[in-house]
Structure formats: structure tokens, C-alpha cells
């Protein structure tokens, strides 16, 4: 019995399979500059195995406090709509990162408390704590056009007394401008 529809079905299956199995290749790409569009933070609770975001208004914990920095970047060219093959980079790049206390803590309000924090570098097999001053080099890597970038900073030398605390994170850009964000005022116990 002839089945005239069998051959087209098999052919389309074959072509579909080939189509799915051949990855898209990029013959050319462009370097697309991005600029930081928004910056914000949210407190972290790191008492368990991994840090989790604390809801706004919740109390934190002195020995397991940190905050997550969220950065969003957009193309410098507002008409650009993204391309799978393109490379993205920040422009201007971040050259410095510092954390300041806005409440009485380790030197009073306004003191640079960067040394009391560590940046969590997740780029390798193992997480690595690095100095906040070295985090700028990590933050400029692996930018993506559409996704929000996240960077964790953990307080490793907490204050001895519980109370209200607030921090400001400042990013210094290559053109000497600064971008900053202030954490929510949080009660650490």
C-alpha cells in the first residue's frame, strides 16, 4: 500500500532535526557599549548555606548581614534592540567601589567601611571573598544586555552592638563620575 504522505513527513522530520541540531553561528559581531541605567540594593540574610534576600523592613542579623547590589544596563544607543552575537561592555567602566557607613559604626557616620565587607566572587568553581576595592574589576566582566546583574557584599566584621545601620555603596566610573546607592535602614540584632 502506497503512502504518499510518508516521504514528506520523514523529510520534514529530518530537516527539523537538522535545524535543531545546528547551532546558530555568528559570522560577525559588534562591540556594544552599555551604560548603567539603574542601581539598587536589598539586604541579605546569610545565616543558612546561601544568602537569601530579606524582605523590606525585616530585621537583619549582625553576623550574617550583607546586601545584594542590582545593576541594570542599557545600550548607549537608545535604538539598539539587542543581538545574540554582539559583545557587551560597560562604558564608562567602573574603576572603584567603596562602602560607607551612614550610621554610627566603625568611625562614625560617613566612615569608609569597605574593609569590613567582602565582595563574593562567584565566577569560579568556588565562591571567593575578595576585598571590596577589587570588586570593580569583577563587576565589569560578563555583561548582558537584558538581564539584571547581581553582586553580593557581606559584612565580615560586624559591629559589637545591635542597632540600626545603613550603608552607602559608591561606584566610581572611569570618567570620574560616581554612581551610588543607599541600603535600606536595617535593624541588625
Amino acid at each position: 500500500m502506497k503512502k504518499p504522505y510518508l516521504f514528506p513527513i520523514l523529510l520534514s522530520l529530518l530537516l527539523t532535526t537538522i535545524g535543531f541540531s545546528c547551532p546558530e553561528e555568528c559570522e560577525s559581531y559588534d562591540d556594544v557599549p552599555l551604560r548603567i541605567d539603574s542601581i539598587s540594593t536589598q539586604a541579605l540574610d546569610n545565616r543558612a548555606d546561601k544568602p537569601v534576600l530579606l524582605p523590606s523592613g525585616a530585621e537583619g542579623f549582625l553576623n550574617a548581614y550583607g546586601f545584594r547590589l542590582f545593576l541594570n544596563a542599557v545600550a548607549a544607543d537608545s535604538l539598539y534592540d539587542g543581538d545574540f552575537c554582539d559583545n557587551y561592555y560597560l562604558s564608562p567602566i567602573i574603576t572603584g567601589c567603596h562602602i560607607y557607613s551612614l550610621t554610627p559604626f566603625a568611625g562614625g557616620p560617613g566612615a569608609d567601611v569597605s574593609a569590613l565587607f567582602r565582595y563574593v566572587d562567584q565566577s569560579g568553581y568556588l565562591p571567593r571573598y575578595t576585598a571590596v576595592s577589587e570588586s570593580a574589576a569583577q563587576i565589569v566582566q560578563d555583561w548582558n544586555f537584558t538581564s539584571l546583574q547581581r553582586f553580593d557584599f557581606l559584612l565580615v566584621q560586624p559591629p559589637a552592638v545591635e542597632g540600626w545601620y545603613q550603608f552607602e555603596l559608591r561606584l566610581t566610573m572611569q570618567d570620574s563620575t560616581e554612581i551610588s546607592t543607599v541600603t535600606d535602614l536595617i535593624y541588625l540584632k
Partner: protein, 269 residues
């Protein structure tokens, strides 16, 4: 080509089968084939290092299989070719993770094995190939053999990472232990020369068929060294250890097998 080879071997086996008559002497000059299954246990010096030993992927109590060809050249002497594999039954991930929990109690542990795929629990199977000789003692249906073999052994070591997190704290340490060997190859593992002594007892049960049991002791020098790095991520302090060439790194394997034996061919006198 493969088909030709397969049917060629079958034809040779069949002709050998026809040449050996029911009236043939039970033993004598000829070729024997054996297939056996049993257990293989590894003993090595690094058992004192509970975090390192599991990564050798040579644990106690494994199922092993062996295949061998024996060419009996006379009443007393035989040549042997033996090939075997050890099926590692221990779940490397579980064993190592348990060892890290015991070494660092009351912490959160996250482990990672970069050389194992995420869904793999076992290491790849060690393989062994050896050539040697046997001294035969035969009596009626029984044959006892003293045997000595040398050859090569390959195994697949593991590298393991652990993140050790203190509860209620940002304190975190990372641990990495990597086994290293000069001749490591990702596909073929690490090879080592081995030597083996064994005792085999064979009993013919019907025509060319027989059963056997054997015990073998195999020793080889571990080709591995390891680097142990425990790093406190808060203050950057590191604890490092490594084993160099001075450490006695002999690995011993004790194997016990039972199996079937078949006389493939008998040499004419």
C-alpha cells in the same frame, strides 16, 4: 570489516570446538578461555586521609569481572593473558560529602566534582590488562595453578571542591583537593604498572567445560599526588598539604573470583 572479523572468530572457535573430541584428555596442551566475576578490594596508604582516599575511586568492596586466555604449553607451564574491570559501587559523591561533614561538623557543606557530570554518582571503572605465566599441577579433573602476571592498570581519579559555611555567620571556607598524575588523560585516566600473584583452582565438569575459583593479590605504585587547599575566605589564611614522591604510595588489590572455563583448542602432540 567488523562483521568479517566477528564471523572469522566464530569460525575459528567452531573449528576448535570440533577438533576437541569427547575422548580428549581432560587437560593438556591447549587454549583455555575463562570468564569470572567476583569482588575486588583496594587497600592503600591514604586511608589515613579520609578526605583524600575516596577520590582515588578505588574503594573497598567492588564487583569485578575478568576475562582470560590461557595457553598451556605443556603439563606444567602456561601463558596467560588477562583483562579485567572493576565496577566501582561506592558513590563517590556521597562518601566524600559524608567525609567532609565529619571533618567539619556543624557547618553547611556544598560539594562539587568538576570531573563528574552532575548526574554521575560513580567514578569510571578502573581497567586492568596483564600478561604472565602459570605453574600447573593437574590431577584427574582438578588443576591448581600458581600464577604471576605483570601489566597495566588505569583508573580515573577525582577532584573535589567543597564550600564550608558556618551557620549564623558570613564565615566561609573553601576546600579543594585535586589528585594529580603526570600521565593523566581525560579519556583514558591514569595508567600504572602492576604486578600480581595468584592461585587458581579449576575443575572440569563436562567435556571442555569447567568451573574455577581464584584469588589474586595485585600491587601497584599509585601514580597520584594530591594537593589539599583549605582557604578561609574572610581572612585569606590557607592550609595546604601535598604528597610528594617520598610518601609510600603502594596500592594493594585483593581479588576473589569464580567463573566458567572453556577449552577452546587442543594442541597436537
Amino acid at each position: 570489516m567488523k562483521t568479517l572479523l566477528k564471523y572469522g572468530i566464530l569460525a575459528i572457535l567452531l573449528s576448535c570446538h570440533l577438533q576437541v573430541s569427547a575422548q580428549s584428555p581432560i587437560f593438556g596442551k591447549g587454549i583455555y578461555m575463562r570468564f569470572g566475576i567476583g569482588s575486588a578490594s583496594f587497600y592503600h596508604a591514604d586511608k589515613s586521609e579520609p578526605l583524600v582516599a575516596p577520590l582515588y575511586a578505588l574503594p573497598r568492596l567492588n564487583v569485578s569481572t575478568s576475562f582470560e586466555i590461557q595457553a598451556s604449553l605443556g603439563k606444567r607451564v602456561a601463558l596467560l593473558f588477562q583483562f579485567g574491570s572493576v565496577r566501582v559501587r561506592s558513590k563517590v559523591r556521597d562518601i566524600w560529602t559524608t567525609a567532609v561533614h565529619e571533618a567539619f561538623p556543624n557547618t553547611y557543606i556544598t560539594t562539587d566534582f568538576p570531573l563528574l557530570f552532575p548526574d554521575q554518582e560513580y567514578s569510571r571503572y578502573p581497567l586492568r590488562g596483564m600478561l604472565g605465566g602459570a605453574y600447573l599441577m593437574e590431577y584427574q579433573r582438578w588443576s591448581v595453578q600458581l600464577r604471576a602476571l605483570v601489566g597495566g592498570f588505569s583508573s580515573f581519579p577525582n577532584t573535589a571542591y567543597a564550600v564550608i559555611k558556618q551557620p549564623d555567620s558570613n564565615a566561609l571556607s573553601t576546600l579543594s583537593i585535586s589528585l594529580q598524575a603526570d600521565n593523566y588523560d581525560a579519556d583514558q585516566g591514569v595508567a600504572a604498572f602492576v604486578g600480581s600473584l595468584g592461585l587458581l583452582t579449576h575443575r572440569t565438569i563436562w567435556r571442555r567445560w569447567g568451573v574455577y575459583g581464584k584469588v589474586e593479590w595485585t600491587a601497584f605504585r599509585s601514580p597520584f599526588t594530591f594537593d589539599y587547599v583549605l582557604e578561609n575566605q574572610v581572612d585569606g589564611s590557607r592550609t595546604t598539604r601535598s604528597y610528594g614522591d617520598t610518601y609510600p604510595r603502594m596500592i594493594h588489590e585483593l581479588e576473589a573470583h569464580v567463573g566458567i572455563s572453556f577449552q577452546l583448542a587442543r594442541f597436537k602432540k
